[in-house]
């Protein structure tokens, strides 16, 4: 096999070895307690995100400690969703642990498809529950004052830009921490893009930026950050009680955001209207994009040329990260916080083993081990725990962790993309309209008016307006209180 012929299998093996080596060095004694339950097998259903690779690379470590065999299957997003709903409806989930998108929590919890983890957490001090960033729990795991899942990979959003290009253009480096951010606004961001767009860098004609334009889900993921930064809220009142889902999507703030989004697209490669998440990341790593903002996993993913190719990208050492700007100088900021968490189907027959796995995989040691996996580039820095952000070793590998943590702490997954029970339907029509505004099929005003009408129709058609069910005052403060009480503090 040629030098390039490192297969995914080698990758997983080497990762596993790295994990096992780490296990020897780490104080994982707690896990040894469950060794008695050996011969158990649990099925884990995950999604094909980078964290899933890192997790699979270190799972042997869990099996060695506990004797529990873990079967992991990873699926595409849509396939996972279809599989899960199918399994839940039939009460025949063949998985003991599942990856849950933050948007599914309300549906799964309200339907009783996954079980609350409150009891496990409060009875198991090993979980070090107080170590989780409350913003991550709030955005990914809590619903109606219960914890349903634990975060396995938390993503905020942030900026990546080309240092060599900025140098050539005589632009100062961007602020990598909020303390330096001072007057850093979106207008500055656009100013820089206009300056660098079309510049020639070592023979490459540069695009200012790239967007993620594919409808409906990808475009909403990226657009909603700009839009929330501009002050857009989807509903009259949510997540604070009492909930009022009358849509406010055609606000002036959102119109300003959509018009600027169209500007952003004009400074992007034309084909980016069809880009999925990874397309934008790959494009940046290929070297003709000056600056863009994206989910934080791309802080490390852009160091690889293409997905799992094992080749370093041409922009390695020429890229830096920065905090997101605000709409007005020194104004309010809200950052999109998303990602994946692990939950337990109510039908699982192996709940104790499933809990052990969830606790382990979302625990500080396993997360660190996942972060240290390196065969085809480092594969995981999407930490949800303070201790991981404080870890010197991880900071050496991922020098941007401070920036990422600051973005996490401004994160609010319940405002930027509110996980209302029919979010998917709303996202479907919203993404479509944004995409059509980009392609010029409709104007920004029309797009938002149509979205407003469709939201109204969908929400009233689904009995969300007026909201007849009891509201819950779903604030970060309440999650913090819940976290304290479950941690026994």
């Amino acid at each position: 096999m040629s030098k390039q012929g490192i297969s995914r299998r080698d990758f997983l093996k080497a990762g596993g070895a790295a994990g096992a080596a780490l296990a020897g060095a780490s104080p994982l004694g707690n896990l040894a307690r469950v060794v008695a339950q050996s011969d158990q097998t649990i099925n884990v259903l995950t999604v094909g995100d980078p964290w899933d690779l890192a997790l699979q690379s270190v799972t042997d470590q869990f099996s060695e400690m506990t004797g529990i065999t873990v079967n992991i299957e990873s699926l595409g997003y849509t396939a996972l969703q279809a599989r899960l709903v199918n399994a839940f409806l039939t009460q025949s989930a063949d998985a003991d642990v599942i990856a849950v998108d933050q948007m599914w929590i309300s549906q799964y919890a309200d339907n009783g498809w996954i079980r609350s983890l409150d009891d496990f957490i409060s009875m198991d001090s090993d979980a070090n529950f107080d170590d989780f960033l409350p913003e991550c729990l709030y955005s990914l795991s809590t619903w109606r004052n219960q914890v349903w899942t634990l975060p396995i990979a938390s993503y905020a959003q942030g900026i990546m830009y080309r240092t060599d290009l900025f140098e050539a253009a005589g632009i100062d480096p961007l602020p990598s921490s909020l303390a330096d951010a001072g007057m850093w606004t979106w207008e500055d961001y656009f100013g820089i893009l206009e300056q660098i767009n079309g510049m020639d860098l070592d023979g490459t004609s540069m695009y200012g930026t790239t967007v993620i334009g594919a409808q409906p889900v990808p475009v909403v993921h990226m657009y909603s950050q700009l839009s929330a930064s501009y002050g857009t809220r989807w509903f009259t009142q949510f997540p604070e009680a009492p909930w009022d889902f009358s849509p406010t999507i055609n606000s002036d703030a959102n119109l300003a955001a959509l018009n600027d989004w169209k500007r952003l697209y004009e400074l992007s490669p034309p084909e980016s209207i069809n880009y999925l998440w990874f397309d934008a990341g790959t494009r940046y790593s290929q070297g003709d994009i000056g600056m863009f903002y994206h989910w934080t996993p791309y802080f490390y993913l852009v160091n690889n040329e293409g997905y799992l190719t094992g080749t370093p990208s041409p922009v390695v050492d020429k890229t830096a990260t920065a905090v997101l700007p605000t709409r007005t100088a020194g104004g309010d900021q809200v950052v999109s916080l998303g990602g994946w968490s692990l939950g337990m189907p109510s039908t699982s027959a192996n709940q104790e083993a499933a809990w052990q796995f969830i606790k382990w995989a979302t625990g500080s040691e396993a997360q660190k081990a996942m972060g240290e996996v390196n065969v085809k580039g480092y594969q995981f820095a999407d930490f949800s725990r303070q201790s991981n952000y404080d870890d010197a070793g991880l900071n050496a590998i991922y020098p941007f962790l401070d920036t990422q943590l600051e973005m996490m702490k401004l994160g609010d997954g319940k405002v930027v993309r509110p996980p209302a029970p029919i979010y998917t339907s709303l996202e479907g029509v919203y993404g479509l309209q944004i995409n059509q505004a980009m392609s010029g099929q409709v104007s920004a005003e029309q797009a938002l008016e149509t979205t407003q009408t469709l939201f109204q129709n969908i929400l009233s058609g689904n009995q969300m307006i007026p909201y007849g069910v009891e509201s819950f005052d779903d604030t970060l403060e309440n999650t913090k209180a819940l976290q304290a009480s479950l941690s026994g503090m």
Partner: protein, 273 residues
């Protein structure tokens, strides 16, 4: 024919063949390329073949190997289940004059060309309710909406070709209808039965909508497996191509074996070929 006409015809035919076979050839090459070379331009026709894409998907970790087995189980099951129903119906339609024959034939074909997505969602709920969700039998049974009508049509066209005289001769010899059916029709129509089974197998094999909605982790089929490589972090083209190439081989081989029956099969027996 004049030589320059011949040359023109061959030139056009060459273009046609390149247009229709070139993309398949290029995709097969992709399965043997190292992932980092998927998008090399200008395209490289010669390169060191890389087997890792097949190794990853079918050997180790080999998540797609069980899907290959599932595809075989579902397609074979759907084919075998449809045969008794289709044989009886095709015999009736071929041998008896009856009222409403045209209506019945049209009804079968209308099922064949109805939008399958219409049926999928109710099946999804139904299978959940009767506890069949995710099982092979859920896919095998629901695929009958396509397999039975198709097989009836095709089998009828083959039975039409078995001369009535032979059957009547058997009756004269004292054999009943059933005995004549077993002794005369089945053996003479056997090539047709085999051809029909092979086509039903291919159509079931290539079906994606039913397994997409009705399978679970352990029963999903190979064409559905190719879709799951379309992950949110990246398209792993090497894996897609490797699984897709394996998924395309059985239908291709079957079509090559069927040779002169291809026309008849694809037109449900309406065009003899």
């Amino acid at each position: 024919m004049e030589t320059r006409h011949k040359v023109a015809i061959y030139a056009m035919m060459a273009l046609v063949m390149i247009f229709f076979l070139g993309p398949i050839f290029w995709f097969i090459l992709l399965a043997f390329r190292h992932p980092s070379e998927a998008y090399t331009l200008p395209p490289q026709l010669f390169f060191e073949p890389y087997l890792g894409n097949f190794g990853d998907t079918f050997v180790d970790p080999g998540n797609n190997a069980p899907q290959l087995l599932s595809s075989v189980i579902v397609s074979t099951g759907a084919t075998l289940l449809s045969l008794p129903f289709a044989l009886a119906a095709a015999y009736a339609l071929s041998r008896f004059a009856m009222r409403g024959k045209e209506f019945i034939m049209n009804w079968y074909i209308s099922l064949l060309i109805a939008p399958p997505i219409v049926f999928v969602i109710p099946y999804f709920i139904l299978m959940s309710r009767i506890g069949w969700a995710g099982s092979y039998r859920a896919m095998i049974v629901t695929l009958q909406t396509l397999a039975i009508p198709f097989s009836v049509w095709l089998l009828k066209s083959f039975m039409d070709e078995v001369p009535l005289d032979l059957e009547e001769a058997a009756w004269v010899d004292g054999a009943g209808r059933f005995a004549a059916f077993i002794r005369i029709i089945i053996p003479l129509a056997l090539p047709g039965i085999i051809v029909t089974s092979m086509f039903t197998f291919v159509f079931s094999w290539n079906n994606v909508i039913f397994p997409l909605a009705l399978s679970k982790q352990s029963t999903t089929t190979l064409p559905v497996g190719t879709i799951s490589f379309f992950a949110s972090t990246g398209v792993y083209w090497g894996h897609i191509a490797a699984t897709a190439v394996v998924a395309m081989l059985p239908p291709m081989i079957i079509f090559l074996l069927l040779g002169r029956y291809v026309v008849r099969g694809l037109t449900f027996g309406a065009v003899k070929g």
